[in-house]
């Protein structure tokens, strides 16, 4: 995913040169201007549109959207469509019953949670209303026991409405693990109940979807927890050192001490306020500037800073609290131990062709020994490698999956370079 703009510019220029040669020099008589421009524009379009795709590599082919109600592969279609993948909600249940109704062999289909009917499709919907409590005794038994039941006559169905046309039913539990969270109910207007195996099978698939939805929810909670952990992890030594620096400046340079206090408050305000996962790079840049200005007050001339920021990157979205820990590592592990100090460089670029934001934090500090680097870049990382780096890596994985890169290069005595590449957002 290297920057591909220059090769593309070269290719476009070359294409226009070739077009000019073939249409104006070699052709006898030369082609008209309109035709020449048209050919050139067409080739430019193909190059400009096709080149980023070529850089990104082949895309995965999406499976065809399943058609509800088509028999033959209907069970598989339900499995793929994942109507309850977002959880047991009214909207998801409505979509699920619409999808399941034709394949379950029943006249009415309903989905409930433990308290209310979430969706009902078919005869009986006049009194089995969405939002009301499940009225049949069968539902209460399934919710209590967690087992499928087959009801063959209207009396055992237990609907309190005397005009209810529903005669038989199969009611299967929807469960997350051992916990019954709802029911899938398939009714018929005669006394021959729907096929139990099909209903149970589909209830199993829906339960699996619900389980996946819960896993998703837990994963999001975990990402939140990691963000909280990073926020809480703000090094207390950093606070002590900064306060000491401010205390030492209070007498000699009260104005600078005041400035530093303001910046310290900005630093903590930013860290505490962030509850989103992505923010504009400009905001993270402000956070990094604030942090480095505090560190610079402490290290003085030993800490030099260089920012190299593309104008386009300022509005790109980056994961919150990601860049500052990388910069903090560069200061703490790279320069703090180097007697004559050094320079921390933050470089940020956007490649519009590959739709990538590239952020590089480098220092010319003491670097890392190969074994430390090996531990850091190894599969499991190391507790000594810093919670920060591992936390960033885990959050990036949760946000982008495989679509990010976090590379660390270091030579002992020659500094460290951390490269982060994330999708442009």
């Amino acid at each position: 995913m290297r920057n591909g703009s220059l090769p593309l510019a070269f290719a476009v220029a070359l294409a226009w040169g070739v077009v000019y040669l073939f249409t104006q020099v070699f052709a006898d008589p030369p082609l008209g201007v309109a035709v020449t421009v048209l050919i050139g524009v067409a080739i430019t379009l193909v190059l400009t549109v096709g080149y980023p795709s070529a850089l990104r590599g082949p895309r995965t082919i999406r499976p065809a959207r399943p058609t509800a109600g088509r028999h033959g592969n209907t069970i598989a279609a339900v499995g793929r469509s994942m109507p309850l993948r977002s959880g047991l909600t009214t909207e998801a249940a409505r979509r699920a019953v619409e999808l399941l109704h034709p394949v379950l062999g029943g006249d009415s289909v309903a989905i409930t949670d433990r308290e209310k009917v979430l969706a009902f499709l078919g005869p009986g919907s006049d009194h089995h209303r969405v939002g009301s409590e499940p009225q049949t005794e069968a539902s209460a038994r399934v919710l209590a026991r967690g087992r499928t039941i087959v009801v063959r006559d209207r009396r055992r169905l237990g609907c309190p409405n005397a005009d209810c046309p529903l005669q038989s039913a199969v009611v299967a539990p929807l469960a997350i693990g051992d916990r019954v969270v709802g029911t899938l109910k398939v009714y018929r207007l005669d006394d021959i109940p729907p096929p139990r195996g099909v209903v149970e099978g589909l209830a199993g698939i829906l339960s699996l979807h619900l389980e996946l939805a819960e896993l998703d929810h837990e994963r999001k909670l975990a990402v939140h927890a990691r963000l909280d952990a990073l926020r809480a992890q703000i090094n207390p030594h950093f606070l002590f050192n900064t306060l000491n620096t401010i205390a030492s400046k209070a007498r000699t340079d009260p104005e600078e001490a005041r400035q530093l206090l303001l910046r310290l408050s900005d630093f903590f305000r930013y860290a505490v306020r962030q509850d989103r996962h992505l923010v504009e790079f400009g905001q993270e840049y402000f956070f990094v500037r604030t942090y480095l200005s505090l560190e610079q007050a402490r290290y003085g001339e030993r800490l030099q800073i260089r920012y190299d920021v593309d104008p386009q990157v300022l509005t790109a979205h980056v994961p919150v609290l990601t860049i500052q820990p990388l910069v903090e590592n560069a200061v703490k592990h790279g320069l703090a131990d180097k007697l004559d100090g050094g320079t921390v460089t933050l470089k940020a670029r956007v490649d519009p062709l590959t739709r990538t934001t590239a952020i590089r934090v480098s220092d010319d500090g003491v670097g890392m020994r190969p074994e430390v680097l090996e531990q850091l870049t190894g599969e499991h990382g190391t507790p000594n490698g810093g919670i920060g780096l591992r936390n960033i890596s885990e959050r990036l994985e949760a946000l982008y999956g495989e679509r990010y890169r976090l590379d660390i290069q270091s030579h002992y005595g020659d500094g460290t370079i951390v490269d982060l590449r994330i999708p442009l957002g």
Binding site: R258, E280, F286, Q304, Y307, D308, P311
Partner: protein, 126 residues
């Protein structure tokens, strides 16, 4: 950087009742200003290259494409004449506006303290 032009908010009793600038507004370190300068310079160089490309394209088109000088557009004007009479000025205006807008946006995001534009919103309730 204080680009808002708002009235200073800090009152210093030692200054005998005079308003003094809020020192908190002087937020930018030399490295911040250097970085902004480099980024704005990049904006300027990029726009200049576009400017140069278009301006140089006019004589190149005159030399290489006969239609550029002989063709007729609306009102019997040649493309070359239209470009020299109006097209270039429109292009200059658009390019200048684009460069100025982007440069201002860069300065707004890279200098000053965006957090302090909304004071007091993180105060705990009594």
């Amino acid at each position: 950087m204080d680009s808002s032009g708002a009235r200073p908010v800090w009152f210093d009793p030692d200054e005998r009742g005079q308003w003094v600038p809020d020192a908190g507004d002087e937020y930018d370190a030399p490295a911040d200003v250097d970085a902004t300068f480099r980024t704005v310079r990049r904006v300027a160089v990029g726009h200049f290259l576009v400017f140069l490309g278009v301006v140089v394209a006019v004589p190149i088109l005159t030399l290489t494409v006969a239609w550029w000088s002989d063709g007729r557009l609306i009102g019997g004007m040649t493309p070359s004449f239209v470009m020299a009479a109006a097209g270039l000025y429109v292009f200059f205006f658009v390019l200048a506006v684009a460069a100025a807008t982007l440069s201002n946006a860069v300065e707004d995001r890279m200098l000053g303290d965006p957090e302090r534009d909304t004071p007091g919103q993180d105060e705990e309730p009594p």
